[in-house]
């Protein structure tokens, strides 16, 4: 749709701009400077007015419960006026500085670069520096990830207080892994999957159901000794979860393969919701909305993290600390995430990975070249789902409780947002986006300084605004960088010369 021809009629502004460029500067109206200011002021006033009216019904009025239970109205017109003034002032400042003489529309309706070479020039002004940096990024990132618990413990001072930071690390890495898993489906194969959380749920429930199953426990207790299943269930169930999730990926993937783009997205969304609704309603198996509790904790390959004889601390001669388990969990998820990344990188160099990328760029060309698109799509679905299943099993063993509440559409949306914001197909981009989004969202929990009475007062609850800001950030990042944080990519296969390709030349997500 974003064609590169000079008269891009879908953007009337682009036409206007080329006309303007042909006018010699001297012949432009002399009072241009003033008209910019005038326009800035009028636009700012218009935005302010619009803000006022948009916010009037829901911010200006507040329906609260009265003592008798019926609703009464509160008024907050002052707040609306404040917002409107803020928008007016902000728009004025922006119009006079950043958007000066060049409205936001025009800067957004940029005509894409015409050739690959030009794109390259736009993409990396310092190719050398870029190459060195990009070669260093991955090892540095991985090294930091390995050293993270050490850094956290040293900086915070002691195992106990570092719990919060390790927890955040585990949380972020889970999303990095999920992002990388979904990246295979969306970023590499170009199949838009809005129901990825279904596979996460399958993994989590597989582990939860198997590990708490009494018959399996009794059977194994009879053959392999008491406590065997509690100690080993995670390590046995991890591959089972992955395989089952992959199996579900194939089952769900098979019927939808004929669909393209948005349709595929909607069907996967529907599948995700169906699985969640079944989990809620099939009470005899899943215990419904109450969830499954008392899932056995993770063990150090059979050695439990307990305080007594035979526990991890005792075996290794360490003083007992419950943080050992957390740190071990951190390394488990790091290992799983690294496995995902490694498999993805290796697969990209194999025929199936190349077929994925070819499929993403042009399905018809792919089919004409004799690639079996059904099989290619199914492998992408299955492998992506498998990593989702691993992550799900890990989630269950970390929280030790699963319920359908954890597998809402929102989760899928967050994971997809991570993939797209990271720049689809880019591993580092996905990791960066996960850190930014999930870490940022966690940081929003600690904004207690806003409760200062000089700012918002003690009744202000910053956690309420978490998802609000999250949604806003999603829109803002998309508008600011529609191609994601890492918009350029190196082709995995090339003729004679390796060139970085600007994201705007690639059309993915075509399913």
């Amino acid at each position: 749709m974003a064609s590169a021809d000079p008269v891009d009629a879908t953007n009337p502004d682009a036409v206007k701009r080329t006309d303007l460029a042909q006018v010699p500067p001297a012949r432009r109206p002399a009072r241009r400077e003033k008209s910019v200011v005038e326009r800035a002021v009028s636009e700012a006033l218009a935005s302010g007015l619009l803000t006022f009216f948009v916010l009037l019904p829901l911010v200006g009025f507040h329906a609260t419960e009265s003592g008798t239970g019926s609703l009464v109205l509160d008024y907050r017109f002052g707040l609306v006026a404040v917002f409107a003034l803020m928008v007016t002032a902000g728009r004025l400042v922006l119009n006079l500085t950043v958007w000066r003489g060049d409205g936001p529309r025009r800067s957004a309706a940029r005509v894409p670069p015409k050739s690959v070479a030009e794109a390259e020039a736009v993409a990396s002004p310092w190719p050398r520096l870029g190459a060195v940096a990009s070669a260093l990024v991955k090892p540095v990132f991985f090294g930091l990830a390995i050293a993270y618990p050490l850094i956290a413990v040293t900086l915070v001072g002691g195992l106990g207080p570092s719990r919060y930071w390790i927890d955040i690390g585990i949380y972020i890495l889970t999303y990095v892994m999920l992002g990388w898993g979904l990246n295979i489906v969306v970023g590499l194969a170009g199949l838009l999957d809005l129901g990825y959380v279904a596979f996460y749920a399958v993994g989590a429930y597989t582990f939860a159901l198997l590990s708490t199953s009494v018959p399996i426990n009794d059977f194994l207790a009879g053959h392999l000794g008491e406590g065997f299943w509690t100690a080993w269930s995670f390590w046995v169930c991890l591959p089972v979860s992955g395989i089952l999730a992959a199996f579900w990926g194939v089952i769900l993937g098979f019927p939808v393969l004929r669909l393209r783009g948005d349709y595929l997205a909607i069907v996967t969304l529907a599948f995700g919701e169906i699985i969640r609704l079944v989990l809620i309603n099939w009470v005899s198996l899943t215990n419904g909305g109450a969830g499954i509790a008392s899932i056995p904790a993770i063990s150090f390959f059979g050695i439990p993290f307990s305080s007594g004889e035979g526990g991890f601390a005792h075996m290794f001669g360490l003083p007992f600390d419950s943080m050992h388990r957390m740190i071990f969990l951190y390394f488990v998820i790091l290992g799983l995430a690294a496995l995902t990344a490694l498999v993805t990188v290796r697969l990209r160099k194999m025929p199936v990975g190349r077929a994925w990328e070819a499929l993403r760029e042009d399905e018809i060309a792919c089919r004409s070249l004799g690639i079996n698109t059904t099989l290619t799509k199914l492998t992408a679905f299955a492998i992506g789902a498998m990593f989702g299943g691993f992550a799900g099993a890990f989630f269950a063993v970390r929280i030790r409780f699963v319920s359908p509440e954890s597998f809402t559409f929102m989760e899928s949306a967050v994971i997809l947002a991570i993939v797209v914001l990271g720049g689809m197909g880019s591993q580092m981009g996905v990791a960066a986006a996960a850190i930014l989004l999930i870490g940022g969202m966690e940081m929003l929990r600690n904004l207690s300084f806003l409760k200062n009475e000089w700012l918002f007062g003690p009744n202000f609850d910053p956690t309420l605004y978490r998802m609000l800001i999250f949604g806003f950030a999603m829109v803002a990042v998309m508008v600011w960088r529609p191609r994601g944080l890492v918009a350029n990519r190196m082709p995995t296969i090339f003729l004679k010369q390796r060139k970085s390709v600007s994201g705007s030349l690639v059309k993915e997500g075509h399913g």
Partner: protein, 305 residues
């Protein structure tokens, strides 16, 4: 038989609401090929706007004529929701037009999250009930003590839906705006070259879709008497299902799909299990998309190289 007739009435009422929302999806998809994920939340915002308006009219202004209250609420909700939708299109979708296909979709998902949380923050997380507005019912059949009733509010909902659809049909078929809209739907670039203001047409499409969703929102509020900030998602997905079922891009299809989804949902709840009614709706979506991707009244999609 009585149960059947009763469920038929209930299903058609629900289906009218879905149909009104579905038109917004189908129009936007037709004109810019984007699944407007935030449309369900726009519907929820409109229900809240209606709630505020009704409260304003009854508790503050002390109005008692139900007819006047409904008309004013509908107009107010349509105007404000249209404004909200116009702003959303301007801020979140227009800068992404011409970008790759996923970009506006992600932006719309973000907008959907933003809207539902915005309402949660500004109006609180609790259910907001209003006093029942129209309580009279007709009894149209009675046998063995089982009454088949047709509530006035169901009549209002169906009548308003039918009336609006006629107005809307006229708008799309007979007015310059409708012509511009259909032209943009067929070929945006050509329409622009022939002097159609594409940006304005797209904005107006969003506004019209939102206005119809606003009617659905007020009807929803009147019918159930309660609204919650999370009420946008499920009706949104079902309305989208309706749009797909009817054939996305087709306006009569959206209404037909809405009615069918409403009927299927109520009959499923009545005869099978109420817990799995959403599963039924979603399964239909899947089945339709797999076996009949062009929907009931849609044109088959031609794959162009």
């Amino acid at each position: 038989m009585e149960v059947f007739v009763q469920q038929l009435i209930n299903g058609l009422t629900l289906g009218s609401i879905y149909g009104l929302i579905a038109i917004g999806y189908t129009m936007v998809f037709g004109i810019i090929g984007m699944v407007n994920f935030s449309h369900g939340d726009v519907f929820m915002v409109s229900a809240f706007t209606g709630l505020i308006c009704i409260l304003m009219l009854t508790t503050v202004l002390g109005m008692s004529s139900i007819f006047l209250i409904l008309v004013i609420t509908l107009v107010v909700a349509m105007i404000f929701t249209g404004l909200v939708s116009w702003t959303i299109e301007r801020v979140a979708y227009r800068p992404l037009r011409g970008s790759f296909r996923l970009a506006p979709m992600i932006s719309a998902i973000g907008m959907s999250i933003f809207l539902s949380n915005f309402v949660q923050v500004t109006q609180g997380p609790r259910n907001k009930p209003i006093p029942p507005m129209v309580t009279d019912v007709f009894v149209i059949m009675e046998r063995d003590g089982y009454q088949v009733t047709l509530a006035y509010k169901q009549v209002i909902i169906m009548a308003v839906t039918a009336g609006l659809l006629l107005v809307f049909w006229w708008l799309v078929q007979k007015t310059p705006l409708g012509r511009a809209q259909r032209a943009c739907e067929q070929d945006r670039k050509m329409a622009a070259l022939l002097g159609v203001n594409v940006d304005r047409t797209i904005s107006l499409t969003f506004v019209i879709g939102a206005a119809l969703a606003a009617v659905a929102g007020v009807m929803f509020l009147m019918y159930y008497g309660v609204v919650n900030f999370a009420d946008g998602f499920v009706p949104g997905v079902k309305a989208f299902t309706a749009a797909v079922l009817g054939g996305i891009g087709s306006l009569p299809g959206a209404v037909l799909g809405g009615l069918l989804i409403g009927l299927i949902e109520t009959f499923w709840s009545a005869y099978f299990s109420i817990e799995y009614k959403d599963v039924a709706a979603f399964s239909i979506l899947v089945v339709v998309l797999i076996f009949m991707p062009q929907g009931l009244l849609g044109r088959p999609e031609v794959e162009k190289v």
